[in-house]
């Protein structure tokens, strides 16, 4: 019994014939809750942590967290800290449910995908290159706004550091 609802033709001449919704999520409860993630990112010293509520087009997740690392090692450390916390939480369980980590080898952009919560750990260059804020802001339709970016292109913003070892 397929509940088929045909989508309208998109402007890129692709038409999808699909039923309602996509694949179900792997686990109904979260591996890590949002305040816990924020606390870990703060402890690790990640800069520029931003929590974005997933826009409507991203139905596969609820929250997107973007965090910046200062170096490839730091970015890998962020992802390992989150995984460590998840493992600790699930200690003693019969089976551990671990998130998917994409990009662990190169420390430029690591995605930790745990169903409802996706954490992107990037380094500063990658963050500027991919421009995540522009991508997931509410009124964006995934088109490039060249005029706006040019205005900001020559402004140097000093990033704020979340560094515990202050000189």
């Amino acid at each position: 019994n397929l509940a088929s609802s045909f989508a309208l033709n998109r402007n890129l001449s692709s038409s999808i014939s699909e039923g309602s919704g996509g694949g179900a999520e792997k686990a109904t409860e979260e591996l890590l809750s949002l305040p816990e993630v924020e606390k870990i990112l703060n402890d690790v010293g990640a800069d520029g942590v931003k929590v974005i509520q997933a826009p409507k087009r991203c139905e596969f997740t609820d929250y997107i967290v973007v965090a910046t690392g200062r170096s490839p090692w730091h970015v890998r450390n962020i992802s390992q800290a989150l995984i460590y916390k998840i493992k600790q939480k699930q200690k003693g369980a019969k089976r551990m449910l671990l998130p998917t980590v994409v990009g662990q080898e190169g420390g430029k952009w690591i995605v930790i995908d745990s169903g409802k919560l996706i954490v992107h750990a990037v380094d500063e260059k990658a963050r500027a290159y991919y421009n995540f804020e522009g991508l997931w802001s509410e009124n964006n339709t995934n088109t490039d706004h060249h005029y706006q970016e040019l205005g900001k292109a020559f402004v140097k913003i000093r990033p704020t550091r979340n560094n515990t070892k202050r000189r």
């Binding site: 039923g19 087009r57 421009n131």
Partner: protein
């Protein structure tokens, strides 16, 4: 079902416009579907023309079948150019992508995609 000599559209903003598959990586198969990495040639503009790059198929006219019985088909074959650690070379992805990419460790492309 993308095989050697298949022309694909490009679904990102790298500047390339057409890609031709010259090999399917990772296995000795003849056909590739969504989520497989292939090696491409003949792009345009910002990537140099006739450069060999890796790309992952995100849309195919053959489509997929999910375990629930639902079938997904697209009107074109499209790919996203990636580099060796599976992150896309461009900054944006255009058009819908199949949801199965997430399970095949392409969460980066899925998170850049406008719709699923």
């Amino acid at each position: 079902m993308i095989q050697v000599q298949t022309y694909l559209n490009v679904a990102d903003n790298t500047g390339a416009q057409k890609l031709m598959c010259i090999r399917i990586l990772g296995s000795n198969k003849k056909n590739a579907n969504i989520g497989e990495i292939i090696v491409e040639a003949i792009p345009n503009m910002s990537i140099k023309k006739s450069e060999v790059v890796k790309a992952v198929i995100v849309r195919s006219t053959k489509g997929l079948r999910r375990e629930s019985g639902m079938a997904v088909r697209f009107d074109e074959n499209a790919a996203v150019i990636i580099n060796n650690d599976r992150s896309p070379k461009g900054t944006r992805v255009f058009g819908p992508v199949a949801r199965e990419l997430r399970d095949k460790n392409f969460a980066k492309i899925v998170s850049l995609a406008p719709e699923l």
